[in-house]
């Protein structure tokens, strides 16, 4: 199976005053295409830092990140933006929908940035909203929706531009456990059906059960990579 993400010897140091925080301390791993990976660890272990670096939001201190044959750490900011626009979808912990736009418009936003004509992107957005069961709420503004609904809009927004990879930083962090299960189930289903790669950060071991592989990270080091064989097989059979 093709490697889509390949990380080698990744270091991230933060200098705070005199002391130096090693947020990432020599991380190396590969993620295969179509995989659902979870990054699990305690608070402050460096999960978000890793994910942000994979998404090109932060520059590593040392090491290399190759995504789809492209060295992310060498790209300039506007190239990174283009890279994200074309290859990456993002799901945020606190949803981050645009408050002045309704659900469809929010979902269509990445397509707007790609310069797609309005009619076409609205059609696509409606289709994705149908996928996340929000057709009824498509004209709702973010403040007229529940947290779970908002996050489903967030997932739809991450999916609408057909990205190869989806990053999610604690997508269920602001949701109760029942809604979390809903959203996780939805993400797992969509990723499996559409064959996308999903990298998700969570500190909840239970939610990590949905993933094919789980990276355990402690103090900036990956200590264990857990394969959930049966789920993965099940996913590929379907």
């Amino acid at each position: 199976m093709k490697k889509i993400i390949s990380v080698k010897n990744l270091y991230k140091l933060y200098r705070v005053g005199d002391s130096c925080v090693r947020a990432l301390d020599g991380v190396s791993f590969d993620i295969r295409e179509g995989e659902f990976c979870a990054i699990v660890g305690t608070s402050g272990s460096g999960k978000s830092t890793l994910l942000n670096m994979l998404a090109g939001l932060e520059k590593p201190t040392k090491g290399e990140i190759v995504i789809d044959g492209c060295h992310i750490e060498k790209l300039k900011e506007d190239e990174l933006v283009r890279f994200r626009r074309e290859n990456v979808g993002f799901v945020f912990q606190s949803f981050h929908l645009i408050g002045t736009m309704n659900a469809v418009e929010n979902v269509a936003l990445p397509l707007t940035f790609r310069g797609e004509p309005r009619k076409q992107r609205m059609k696509k957005a409606e289709r994705i909203l149908e996928l996340v069961n929000l057709t009824k709420h498509r004209k709702h503004m973010p403040n007229q929706m529940s947290g779970g609904q908002q996050q489903r809009v967030g997932v739809a927004r991450a999916l609408v531009s057909d990205p190869k990879i989806i990053f999610a930083d604690e997508p269920t962090g602001n949701l109760d456990s029942h809604t979390s299960e809903d959203v996780m189930g939805l993400m797992q289903k969509v990723v499996r059906e559409q064959g996308r790669t999903l990298v998700m950060v969570t500190h909840d071991d239970h939610l990590a059960e949905y993933a094919d592989r789980v990276f355990h990270i402690i103090d900036g080091k990956i200590v264990k990579i857990e394969e959930k064989q049966k789920r993965k097989e099940g996913g590929h059979e379907s």
Partner: protein, 473 residues
């Protein structure tokens, strides 16, 4: 991103904060309006100056007058003979006019003959400033006549006159010596229909009058003068073929003049003063008339305003006096440039203040939307698009301010013109004048100012770290 989407997003974010947008736009409105109104005042002044110049012969006309070697020279040059004297003096004769016509850049050259005359009508007597001009010249003066009037016909047997609309103010009652300026009443004469008696030989008229008025007091002397006085001058019956439009009150460049055909006037003069020197005509020292008929001046039209200066110098080097409007216009232009600079500067200050307002608003808007901007960057909005979005927003504020400011300017300009035209008479045209180019440039300027003010905030938005934006809660 498409332009339509950029525009939509910019407008929607402006609409989100209606009051704040309104206040910012208001600043631009005031700034634009003050610039436009200030400059329009300067332009109005300039416009009315040009109109005045146009009435006085326009920018391309030159008035050429002869040079009479000054009096001192003449009195001391007793050793010279008549020939020399004639050469040292330059007169405008038919030959000279022909010569002027032959010069480069000359469109037309026409002689002008200016004499003063008396007019009698009933109990009134009036002075006429009589201008004899060629038909082409009269045509070129663009005199606006009252309906029914026409220019003098050169082939008519009579001396046809065109009266200036204010000529009657120079008439007074012969018995009392009181005229319009004393009594405030217009003489009871209708120039359009009434016939007048024209007296070309004023000296003769007065010397013929003298004994009548001074007779009773100084009997002996009076009778003596009466004997020696020349016979009373001929009175020519004349009537108007036209009156300058505008009525008694309105002033224009032709108000106090009386125009007639130059050849007619010349032949009348020559008839009247047969064998004597015509007043205003130069005479040789012996008192004999000059060999050729001499005109008061020649009116020359240059082909272009740019060539007026050159032409004037050429004619001066030929030995004639030349007066043009160009020096006047040039000095006025300089003054107006200064006035406009000052007025425009005052306006520019208020637009500058408005620009600070725009920058402030944009800054606020960016702080408010830090998270939004960060999210957009994370999900793939290019840096250029973000910058454009904010520039467009700022430019749009400028544009709205520019449009509203221009509307306000037109209203203010109209109000100023109404107020001023109510107060002052005499000043033709309007005080505030807004040409199309001013509308367009001020609008463009407002947009530019908006964009300039929004430039640094837009750069700032562009540089916002997406990470910082999405991390904080």
């Amino acid at each position: 991103m498409r332009w339509s989407d950029l525009l939509r997003m910019s407008i929607s974010s402006l609409r989100r904060r209606k009051l704040r947008t309104f206040l910012t736009v208001l600043g631009v409105v005031i700034g634009t309006a003050s610039i436009v109104v200030m400059i329009s005042l300067g332009l109005g002044l300039q416009q009315s100056m040009y109109e005045e110049v146009e009435q006085n012969g326009g920018t391309t006309s030159l008035t050429v007058t002869g040079k009479t070697g000054d009096g001192m020279m003449m009195s001391y040059s007793y050793g010279t003979d008549g020939n020399m004297e004639e050469e040292s003096q330059k007169y405008i004769t038919d030959e000279v006019v022909e010569e002027l016509k032959g010069l480069k850049h000359v469109k037309s050259a026409n002689p002008v003959l200016n004499v003063s005359a008396l007019a009698l009508k009933g109990r009134y007597i009036g002075y006429l400033d009589l201008y004899g001009m060629t038909p082409e010249e009269l045509e070129a003066r663009n005199i606006e006549l009252e309906p029914g009037g026409r220019l003098p016909d050169p082939d008519s047997a009579e001396l046809e006159l065109v009266f200036g609309n204010a000529v009657l103010t120079n008439f007074y009652e012969e018995s009392t010596g009181r005229g319009y300026w004393e009594t405030g009443e217009m003489p009871d004469i209708d120039l359009k229909t009434d016939q007048l008696f024209l007296i070309l030989d004023q000296d003769a008229y007065y010397s013929a009058q003298e004994p009548v008025s001074s007779g009773p007091t100084e009997g002996g002397d009076g009778s003596g003068t009466e004997v020696s006085s020349p016979k009373a001058p001929k009175k020519y019956v004349v009537h108007a073929c036209g009156v300058v439009a505008g009525g008694m009150e309105a002033y224009n460049a032709n108000s106090y003049y009386v125009f007639c055909d130059i050849d007619k006037l010349r032949s009348f003069l020559q008839k009247e003063f047969r064998g004597r020197a015509i007043p205003g005509q130069p005479a040789t020292r012996s008192g004999k008339p000059y060999s050729q008929f001499v005109y008061s001046s020649a009116s020359v039209q240059a082909d272009d305003m740019e060539n007026v200066e050159e032409l004037a110098n050429t004619i001066r080097s030929m030995g004639y006096n030349v007066s043009t409007n160009i020096e006047y216009i040039n000095s006025m232009k300089k003054q107006f440039a200064m006035v406009q600079g000052v007025l425009g500067g005052i306006g520019a200050v208020s637009l500058f203040v408005a620009a600070i307002g725009i920058a402030n608003t944009m800054m606020m808007s960016i702080y408010e939307r830090t998270k939004e901007i960060g999210v957009m960057k994370v999900i793939g909005c290019s840096l250029r698009n973000i910058r454009e979005m904010f520039l467009l927003e700022a430019g749009f504020i400028g544009f709205m301010g520019g449009v509203a400011g221009n509307i306000l300017s037109f209203i203010m300009s109209a109000v100023i013109n109404i107020l001023v035209s109510g107060e002052s008479m005499g000043v033709g045209g309007s005080l505030s004048y807004i040409p199309l180019w001013l509308v367009l440039t001020s609008m463009g300027f407002a947009v530019l100012v908006g964009m300039a003010a929004g430039y640094f905030p837009a750069l700032r938005a562009m540089k916002l770290s997406p990470l910082a934006a999405i991390r904080n809660e």
